[in-house]
Symmetry: C2
Subunit: 150 residues, 2 copies
DNA sequence: CTTTCTTGGTAGCATGTTGCAACCGTTGTG
DNA sequence: CACAACGGTTGCAACATGCTACCAAGAAAG
């Protein structure tokens, strides 16, 4: 078989995450979910994705525990897709991607969407990787350990 | 044409980021780069990816300004791939994905690799999304604004 | 210097995945 | 009841992925 390579049994957490959400559409679906989209049609219009692809992605995300299919909140017979706690935990990932995009793919003054603190309308603080005692860490300040079975 | 949909002209920074690194291999290549891999063969052995795919991905990452091709550091005639500043700026993204994976895809006690503070060997602090004045923010505490051209 | 091994690819093929358009049953609306 | 909107499914063509074989340049051994 020539199936896509899977990383779901890797011992690296990054690999398992990528396996779950590392395709072109999944992260954007999750982004839209954070932004309030719930219905199939909302995702479809917002993303411009083909319906069969969206169907497949939603199914994978539900199977992976990122989204959950629940009865529609407006009382209609349709269903909605909402983030599970596991899906909500992707918030820092989305914010990190957003900040990286803002800082590297937009000319100064170029229009873009922006995530703001709802209470005050301010931009968010830039994410920082911190040590256990709160020092900011650069990539060079870190190293990868193997944690064996206990 | 039935080419892959591109997001590089989206006004959403998340979409542009996904366009640059949102495929199955790119993020893992970047992860390995953070972990010290520099040579074609290192990436290939570490990832188990087909060489033609790796060639294509490295080329895209170099074209996208995430990696840079430089003369080998050991004086040989080969070349190496190192992170640019733009690539290094992906550090919070990788850390966020790693923490999400650790917390959601591993049973307690299951072996996994772990990123630690080099100086003290401790685990890192969990990434937090903060408001401008330092309050921790949940997804519901934020909203998306449009910033028009200035 | 010549043989051999390593490195870093390319080429071709089979299969999988994506995008598109057409279609369709169910649900909501006038 | 008629008609539109919703949420898909199906079939097809094009593209991407994975695999294997191959290959040229560089390094290493003798």
């Amino acid at each position: 078989m020539v199936t896509r390579t899977r990383f779901d049994d890797s011992e690296c957490p990054v690999a398992r995450s990528v396996d779950a959400i590392g395709d072109w559409w999944s992260l954007l679906i999750v982004r839209d979910a954070f932004d309030g989209s719930r219905r199939f049609g909302e995702f479809q219009r917002s993303l411009g994705v083909a319906k069969n692809i969206l169907t497949a992605r939603l199914r994978t995300l539900v199977a992976g525990g990122v989204l959950e299919s629940v009865p529609a909140s407006d009382g209609s017979a349709y269903r909605e897709y909402v983030l599970t706690p596991k899906g909500e935990a992707l918030f820092p990932v989305i914010v990190a991607l957003r900040q990286w995009g803002e800082q590297n793919f937009f000319a100064p003054g170029e229009p873009h969407s922006e995530l703001v603190d709802r209470r005050q309308g301010n931009r968010l603080r830039t994410l920082e990787v911190l040590s256990a005692d709160g020092r900011p860490l650069n990539p060079d300040d870190t190293t990868v350990h193997k944690v064996s079975a206990q």
